[in-house]
Symmetry: C2
Subunit: 220 residues, 2 copies
DNA sequence: TCCGATTTGTTGTAAATCCAACGGACTAAA
DNA sequence: TTTAGTCCGTTGGATTTACAACAAATCGGA
């Protein structure tokens, strides 16, 4: 009985893999589990990137030092999610980021080469694992492309319109909600919150957009 | 003898696959080759994304319509390279982009499910194919992350410093070249060329950076 | 060498953005 | 009800950027 089977079976990496198959698979993969105290490093910038991390409990922070030495938090990875998967899968990479435990956390690490080099006789579920990994990378790719499209817009107005029209595309003309408050939206768009607020006000006054809190609707 | 074996064996998707293995592999994958006239569509926005494309000859353009209906070119894919791979691998995706032949072009398409669902008895090289696909996605991921970090900087100065210090990291203090001219660099950073030129001049006058054409060096 | 085309740097002005500060609306706890 | 905290919109001034136009430098043939 694996202590983390509930977390793992909900994780995208182990999607469509039955709980009973988890334990033998993990031993086949040589998965290593470690506990990290809050603030202690899991990976450091410059490390060789060979293993993908899975957060089993707690959460971790992806951080990076900029050219002037300021450390900033790029992302927080919650329980059940992966980190460093792109670097581990690309092979021969040096990590450009560091990972720290945001709280006391358990982390499982798997060597990506073990995932890729299937052992056809033993592990029938390797194939599913590879499929999942491919899907995770592909979906992240799509997310990054989408964000890049938004932040590449030159003006706050265009960033808002590109982001919001994208969110609205599933049901044009209908109200839709966004998963951000104003500050988070401003951070996502890479603009100042107050300037964004002003621009939202303009769009509303011009009759292009209506909104209340995080519910938006295009008036076209 | 496959007519495109030289192009294919140089393509990242078929890296480490011998030319003699190409033909049986392609037939096993159900690869389809079509010729497209200049400007004719290969994929249209809204299509179901199931196949990854490989440019066998010529080149293709990735385009997208923005919220106001303007079509812009996001990328040009040269001979030997892939397109739509992320959407094809993510499964159940609708394409948010269109692809047109930039010139008369031959394009091969492969159903991603055929790549993922290995046929262990027949194709020993499926494994290598999957490894390559994973690596392509992972590397693209890293590139997108890197670009996103640059473009997310608020000021032109910071965008320049983040980009250039990243390029300089391989050999700190040494001169390094960049693969862009000024206009291309400005496009990559998402800023105005002349404003960027001004900012570069400031950095030089402040003694932070020296450059000549596309050779740069940090003076730290 | 000379010419035309392209690339790069410079400048001034208009416009957009950032920044800091503040006030109102709302919420939750005391 | 009061109070403290958070979120959101607004404002004004300082800064930054875009834009357009032009000058200087560079490059590749003829």
């Amino acid at each position: 009985m694996h202590p983390y089977k509930d977390v793992l079976s909900k994780s995208a990496l182990f999607h469509n893999i039955t709980q009973s198959d988890l334990a033998p698979m993990l031993s086949c993969l040589g998965a290593q589990i470690n506990r990290y105290r809050k603030h202690s490093p899991i990976y450091l910038e410059g490390d060789a990137a060979q293993t993908v991390g899975v957060v089993l409990s707690g959460s971790v922070q992806i951080t990076k030092e900029d050219y002037s030495g300021n450390r900033s938090i790029l992302a927080v990875v919650a329980t059940g999610n992966l980190f460093a998967e792109a670097y581990a899968c690309a092979g021969e990479q040096v990590l450009p980021i560091s990972v720290f435990a945001a709280e006391d956390s358990d982390v499982m690490r798997i060597d990506c080469r073990k995932i890729i080099d299937t052992c056809p006789s033993v592990c029938a579920f390797h194939k599913q694992l590879i499929r999942n990994l491919l899907q995770i990378l592909a979906e992240k790719n799509i997310l990054l492309n989408r964000k890049l499209e938004v932040v590449s817009q030159r003006t706050t107005r265009d960033k808002l319109l590109v982001y919001l029209s994208g969110e609205s595309k599933k049901a044009p003309g209908q109200p839709f909600s966004i998963p951000f408050n104003r500050q988070e939206l401003a951070d996502y768009l890479g603009v100042d919150r107050s300037a964004m607020s002003t621009e939202l006000g303009k769009l509303k006054r011009e009759g292009i957009l209506d909104y209340h809190k995080n519910i938006f609707r295009f008036l076209s």
